[in-house]
Amino acid sequence: MIINTTILSWVTFVYFASAIFYIFRMVTGKEFWGPLASFSALVGLIAQTGALILRWVESYKMGIGHAPLSNLYESLIFFAWTIVLLYLIMEWRIKTRNLGAFVIPFAFLSMAYASFSPHVSSRIQPLIPALQSNWLISHVITCFFGYAAFTIACGLGLMYLLKGLEKGGVSRPFLRFLPGRKTLDELSYHSVVIGFIFLTLGIITGSVWAYSAWGSYWSWDPKETWSLITWLVYAAMLHSRFVRGWRGKRMAVMSIIGFVSVLFTYFGVNYLPGLHSYF
């Protein structure tokens, strides 16, 4: 096994530990677990960054150098990386560890799928002609930052709905440690905005690429179409917030629906015929 994949499978466990610590912190209400959780997430992120750089370098040593963003394995790893990076920036900016229990598990799941699924090959493969483009990096990066922001928004939406149980008379100690519903709503909105901008950039870079690779900037390929569907879901969400002033529960539900659409754009499309068959 090549060294970078070994590091990456260890990172999977580090994220698992981090997720567990965040959940302990939430359930027990003891701050003791907090720094441990943040620290392991940070260690995981640094190790993962190192492994990604190593993988990049290794591909050059193999004579087929390209950014590690070219197949399902690499995209899953990068997805986890963007989730943890965005999350840690958020944690640092808003100075609360309350969100980790609902975000880091997504990063762990993505890493685990990449590392342990028998259907996902971790080999470094050369780029087929269609992928040999300068647009590969900008397209993949913008898309996955968008996906990551939507993932965080979904985590926040789930937290919002959980927190809503309190109002219904359910009283669990851990509910008290969740941030207030207004804060959750604001944060979720900001994540959706970031995701929406990145998704739009991802669609634009993708169509520029398609224009030079396939001869048309838009060909209704299933992945293109699903990215449009996702875009419409979040556009609807933003409009109902701006124009109608919808807040709270409805937004939380929509951020979860949006995330389902993101997941389908990412994975589900592989089961449909189309041009995006590399991921």
Partner: protein
């Protein structure tokens, strides 16, 4: 009535409804096979269902009338909404609220108030200079013992949403222009051949170009592990016999000639006009030659002339074969030589009795063996001419600017009040913003810091 129509067209319900309908329709289009899939998967469907789908244009949904109507409605909704709301935004942009309002100053937190020993006039002078430097449309109003200032920032943020909506209309306009004035076409071009006719996209119609394209060579390069590394066509473009452009065409690197973009889309192979043939007598090794279609070669011993009349890639589903003609003083004959004759004979042991023309040893004592036929690649070229692209591109660029304005700027208003008695002045600052309370707080804190340093 007219009012009701207008209010329906500008309603958010219509917008959200259209979003949902377009999303669901697009979703269906990814599940129902679309025509350009070649129709293979349609055959598995129930014929009655196919009829229903066909009448609803579900097999070419994204170009169907009703999908275009949906897009048209969305554009209309976008336009009416924007026109409806624009006057309000314009007012918000232009209007300067009254300066001597007391409401903003109610319940002001202590860190928004500065006290100083300085002379009031001096303070007013400093405040005014600072505000003029930092904000737009600064106004001042003096009353008996109080001076009010107003300044603002980011009023343009009211227009962000119109920039976004306009850019979406621009993208749609570009797409319409492209589909009306542009075309997509394809052509399969064997190596060494040239053409000026291509097949138009979905309509199987032929289009003539005013120049010809010739494929000089097609080649594939592979990585060590067998994955394809490069598909490359060396093309020449000719007009009136002159080469107007010559160069390689690679995937991801289209070539534009006379406003038409050429793409390396696919490839395939057809038999060429050469075959590698071994002619032997009895058990001797024989001679192997590369024979060209229609060229003749001489067999001295029998004074015979051998010619290859046809080269087939897959004759009667039995693989590659060549048709050989023999002309000699004894007799003239024609027979087929299959590459896989040994395998074919195993399947049909009495083949030569049934079909003597399939016997490669028919011209005794010679025996012909086909080693290989030359394969000629053809390159699959995709052509497109789309005059709407630059419009779509500028719309896409504009939408990002619209996002930055809408999501990252806000209209921030500041009221500054200077009052106080002899030898003692007080500055109070009140602020409001359309969105972005965090940014407002940061900006107000900056303003307080600067005020502090001026007094």
């Amino acid at each position: 009535m007219k009012k009701a129509v207008l209010s329906f067209l500008s309603s958010l319900k219509l917008t959200i409804g259209l979003f949902i309908i377009i999303a669901v329709a697009s979703l269906l289009g990814t599940v129902i096979p679309q025509q350009y899939d070649g129709g293979e998967s349609i055959r598995h469907l129930n014929p009655a269902l196919v009829k229903v789908f066909e009448s609803l244009q579900l097999f070419d949904m994204y170009h169907s009338i009703w999908f275009i109507i949906l897009m048209g409605l969305l554009s209309l909704n976008l336009t009416v909404c924007s026109l409806n709301r624009f006057p309000t935004s314009w007012k918000l942009f232009r209007k300067i609220p009254s300066l001597d309002r007391s409401k903003p100053f109610e319940n002001l937190s202590p860190d928004r108030i500065l006290a100083t020993e300085k002379e009031r006039n001096e303070v007013i002078f400093g405040v005014e200079r600072l505000l003029l430097k930092r904000y737009k449309r600064v106004r001042r109003k003096d009353t008996a013992n109080t001076t009010f200032f107003y300044g603002q920032k980011g009023a343009y943020s009211h227009f962000g949403v119109y920039v976004i909506h306009a850019s979406i209309l621009i993208v749609i306009a570009g797409a319409i222009i492209g589909s009306l004035l542009g075309f997509e076409a394809f052509v399969n071009l064997p190596e060494g051949e040239s053409t000026n006719t291509v097949h138009l996209g979905r309509q199987k119609v032929i289009k003539n170009l005013d120049f010809a394209v010739r494929c000089d060579k097609f080649s594939i390069a592979y990585y060590d592990n067998g994955m394809p590394k490069e598909y490359r066509s060396d093309l020449s473009f000719l007009k009136d016999g002159d080469v107007i452009y010559q160069g390689p065409l690679l995937v991801n690197h289209p070539v534009t000639v006379n406003g038409i973009r050429f793409y390396q889309a696919s490839y395939g192979s057809t038999p060429g006009d050469q075959a590698l043939i071994t002619i032997k007598k009895g058990n001797e090794a024989g001679t192997t030659i590369t024979a060209r279609l229609k060229d003749s070669l001489h067999l001295k011993e029998k004074d015979a002339t051998v010619k290859i009349l046809r080269i087939e890639e897959n004759l009667m589903s039995m693989g590659p074969a060549v048709l050989i003609s023999i002309q000699s003083p004894e007799r003239n004959m024609r027979f087929w030589v299959f590459k896989d004759i040994e395998r074919i004979k195993q399947g049909i042991p009495d083949l030569f009795k049934k079909v003597p023309r399939f016997n490669p040893g028919l011209f005794e004592p010679y025996y012909f063996k086909l080693n290989e036929i030359e394969k000629k690649y053809y390159t699959g070229l995709q052509l497109s001419h789309d005059p709407g692209v630059s419009i779509v591109a500028s719309g896409s660029f504009l939408i990002i600017i619209g996002f930055l304005i809408t999501f990252f700027s806000s209209h921030k208003r500041f009221w500054v009040r200077v009052d106080g008695e002899e030898g003692k002045s007080r500055i109070s600052v009140a602020a409001s913003s359309t969105r972005d309370p965090v940014g407002l707080k940061r900006e107000t804190e900056n303003l307080m810091r600067h005020l502090k340093s001026t007094i």
